[in-house]
Amino acid sequence: MSVDHDHVHDDVAVRAAALEALLVEKGLISTDAIDAVVDLYENDIGPQNGARVVARAWVDEAYRDRLRQNGTAAIAELGYGGFEGDTMVVVENTPEVHNIIVCTLCSCYPWPVLGLPPSWYKSPAYRARVVAEPRAVLAEFGLELADHVEVRVWDSTAEVRYLVLPMRPQGTEGLAEEELATLVTRDSMVGTGVPLQPVAAA
């Protein structure tokens, strides 16, 4: 890293520390509350939550129906919901339709089921290009879709957050729900990927 880079980095770190110190001193928030938030999003809330939702939908047709009709309520059945996920809409991939989510304005993302967004999701390039040329963006993620597959791009907002329900991989008929959940990647629930294939031995 260059000296300049370190300087800029330190400058913003200083401002963040100053802001935190002032707010704690004023009693508006506590250091413990900040620690708890950071710990929650680093350790407890993440794509593993969404993976459980997807795996349940793969094995339980009635649950899948509920997920289609009211994503928020069906996701809440598994204990997930709340901040930045108040209104969830689940969009289902089929052999004819591939869904992909974005937030063109900033970084809206379904936190309760996917955690915080990866840096590429927040990048200007992804936000602009996935709308204009979704197939090209998907190809860069290594996902080549057949020509007949329709690509639908869902723009997240402050009010509505989307979750992609990917297709269950072939050859997973014998797998239990917990095993299926391990195949569900974050990118497959954003729409920039597909679930993992089970290892042959499984």
Binding site: V12, A16, A33, V38, R52, L105
Partner: protein
């Protein structure tokens, strides 16, 4: 705790681990996690309106030559707090100067984790 501890989480259970970060850290530096945590804690405490914050964040991100994401996040947070008069520009400036002075005299950056 350190945000760098994330790197070891994904492989704890080996093949049975659920997808978590797909190899990517949520925060790239400790200050990013603090700036994130401060905004959410303020919202949880009812001290700021998150939609007002989001509007500022959108403006920062959409501006010409926008800064890196969490720098936009921090700027948006500062603006909302200044507008709500929860902090003043003068005290923010004063505290920043004093922290920068302390850090310049201490090259052991352990204190970046202040809460550890």
């Amino acid at each position: 705790m350190s945000s760098r501890s994330l790197a070891s989480i994904t492989s704890d259970d080996g093949a049975t681990a659920l997808p978590r970060k797909n190899g990517e850290l949520v925060f790239e530096a400790p200050w990013e996690s603090r700036a994130f945590g401060v905004a959410i804690a303020l919202h949880d405490a009812g001290a700021i309106d998150f939609e007002a914050f989001r509007a500022r964040l959108i403006a920062e991100i959409g501006g010409a030559g926008a800064a890196a994401y969490y720098e936009c996040w921090l700027r948006a947070l500062e603006q909302v707090l200044l507008e709500h008069e929860l902090v003043s520009a003068a005290e923010l400036e004063e505290r920043s100067t004093s922290i920068a002075h302390d850090w310049a005299h201490d090259h052991d950056h352990e204190h970046l984790h202040g809460h550890d």
